[in-house]
Symmetry: C2
């Protein structure tokens, strides 16, 4: 009697694959005010449209107070889904609200996709490196990964066919300004990806949080649009091979946890069942406020502000790196998004570099955890959206000092 | 090429246990304006504190706009967790914020508990009948159920020991104004439950959405408090055998999706990992607004309003049933909550009665789905929180007519 509860013997097998997120643990570093952190993946809070958001809250509560605070349907607020459908049709994909599910952030969409498709031991094709949140979501379902290498044009699709012959459940790809790499999948590769996935009957999960955040170059059609064209679905509601995900986190604000999934209706129906069991529905109020903010076209104007702010930060960071980083270190030059990717000489360990960097009051995320099958020890992800240009100048100066220090240590003793 | 994607061969095994919620499908009936529906489980929207909520939104956006719209920690907004800890200490359970996780509604807490504890085929002890949302959440993890019968004092704890010898993962119980039964677990049975669970080393999951909504009789201590006393944990942070859940859905509003879990710290740490993979965190803004609404004690005053409104509705419903229902039909007289439970004569089928009821423009939920191992075909759940007293009078009159009609048909021909 009165004994300690033996919790440790009661956890399910799947908890062995669950770990605390490396990224989120590192985010704790940001809390030390004297550290300049390029580790997180945070939008710049200065660009949040607080006043528009406040006005929308008040309009929603004026006109629909009790409805906004009541339970609502699992699929999501219909006017919001209609707005997303209109937005999507710009890219020549015929979707209607029944092709759309609202989720509580993209992480939830990743979780539901795992729940729907992954049996323990199933293989998922991912880019190497790939988004850490996806690996975290799918590890809970016992996924294994087949990795496809990447270059400055994204997934090397020529290497994909080998991976497809493993019999994977789906292909996961971030086509625009990839997290963590910063690269963008070329149009030619997008088309080839659609064809190969169709040939092998393997669905594609297209994760596109940053598509709107392009600072230069031409917008490329999303894979879901190319798949629709490939199937000659003109005028028919989308029923192809792609599950597309995007989010309000990067174009409005992440703190309201609103994202969406576009998929064939039969997939949406299954996702809705998953969501019923998982959290009933996404907050009614948040959905109504996002619709109220977005319905008049405000977000189209607002992303221009975000692009201007982030472009400046990217440019400052690239300039500083060009000026200060040792020639032995290389990095990507993303056309959009929030991250760039640094490759140090072979044999360097980014985790060791991070330890030194933290002493010098600057931080980043080591690249290894983004490689589910290993590798990338000499890489790091750097965020440029969160810090001001002045902070970026100071932070990159500190980081360059760290890199030169390591380089000096590693240089053969003269 | 251009073939239809064979989605149906790609779903994971667990999707076979996933079904659309009976309750949520029935909720669609509420959308027909001429049907009086006692089927849903909705709070009365008239009592939502829209003005206090609006004022809180504005105060939060004034003082903390960018923070409220930014990503935040998985555990939840600390001042909100502190407020919940203070509230919980009223019941003599020593908890601090590290004993608390904020979830996106109680359904999410049920999902995470399944994720943390249930291996395919594991047994869970539940009351019969029990809450449908829990069955739905845990079916996705392959749970099986051992049912313990109930009477007007809740789970018949004398029958529990038999169920514990099956080796279940945990015991799930709704002690106050149970959904669907309306009954309350007596103090004596609560104490016995704590002792038995401790003896067998089986944790208790205490689901308490309605605890504050008591209309008569004396408040009974939550099981988590009795467990804490039993362990003589005075002054120590809670580390016992109970995972306790409650929600802002019934005391503030469900449309903001905010609930909480109280558990030993090691369990909270695991739940946090589950939440990181599932949706990163609950909406920052919603948590800050709920704190802003609640911090000055407003919710304590507000539940008094809710109690007054719901008590009147319950009383009107009970009076009408007393007056109009046939003597062959019996029902519970809940001391709080939102539901009562009707038992028709043996051999009656509530699903058939519902079909006739819908023709007569009144609806309820048939009781069978609340029984995971079968039974309860002659029972129904009736909600009294959502409809006005006038609507309740008319609806119960219609339903009584249906019951008398069925009774006439079933009567032996004369």
């Amino acid at each position: 009697m009165h004994m300690q509860t033996p919790w440790e013997y009661r956890y399910a097998h799947r908890t062995r694959q669950m770990g605390s997120s490396v990224i989120r643990e590192l985010l704790k570093l940001t809390e030390q005010p004297d550290i300049i952190s390029f580790a997180g993946g945070l939008p710049a809070p200065e660009v949040f449209p607080v006043e528009e958001f406040r006005a929308a809250c008040n309009r929603v509560l004026d006109a629909f107070g009790p409805q906004a605070l009541q339970y609502s349907t699992t699929e999501g607020y219909r006017p919001l889904r209609e707005m997303i459908a209109r937005h999507t049709r710009r890219y020549a994909v015929e979707v209607d609200p029944d092709n759309i599910l609202i989720t509580s952030g993209s992480q939830q969409a990743l979780d539901f996709i795992g729940r729907l498709f992954i049996n323990r031991g199933d293989y998922i094709v991912v880019e190497s490196p790939t988004y850490l949140g996806a690996i975290q979501a799918w590890n809970a379902y016992g996924a294994q990964y087949v990795t496809v290498p990447t270059d400055e044009n994204g997934m090397i699709v020529e290497e994909l066919e080998k991976a497809l012959r493993v019999g994977p459940k789906f292909i996961y790809v971030l086509p625009n300004f990839q997290n963590p790499g910063g690269w963008t999948l070329s149009l030619e590769r997008r088309k080839k990806l659609v064809e190969l996935a169709d040939r092998y009957g393997v669905p594609i999960v297209e994760d596109d949080p940053y598509g709107q955040l392009r600072y230069e170059g031409e917008h490329l059609p999303p894979i879901v649009a190319l798949d629709s064209q490939y199937r000659q679905e003109n005028g028919k509601h989308y029923s192809g091979n792609v599950i597309y995900m995007s989010t309000f986190s990067k174009i409005l604000a992440p703190g309201i946890r609103l994202a969406w999934v576009i998929a064939p209706k039969e997939v949406i129906r299954r996702l809705v069942m998953a969501k019923q069991a998982a959290d009933l529905h996404t907050a009614t109020f948040n959905q109504m406020v996002a619709y109220e903010v977005g319905k008049g076209g405000f977000l189209d104007e607002h992303v221009k502000v975000i692009r201007r702010v982030y472009k400046e930060r990217r440019d400052v960071m690239l300039e500083m790196m060009e000026e200060l980083f040792p020639a032995e270190v290389h990095w990507t030059r993303p056309q959009g998004g929030m991250f760039l990717w640094v490759t140090m000489p072979k044999g360097w360990d980014a985790a060791e570099v991070l330890r030194l960097a933290i002493e010098r009051k600057v931080a980043f995320v080591p690249g290894a955890p983004f490689h589910p099958n290993g590798g990338g020890e000499n890489t790091m992800r750097i965020n440029f959206s969160y810090s001001s240009p002045e902070t970026i100048r100071e932070g990159i100066t500190r980081l360059a000092g760290v890199l030169r220090e390591v380089l000096g240590e590693k240089a053969p003793a003269g």
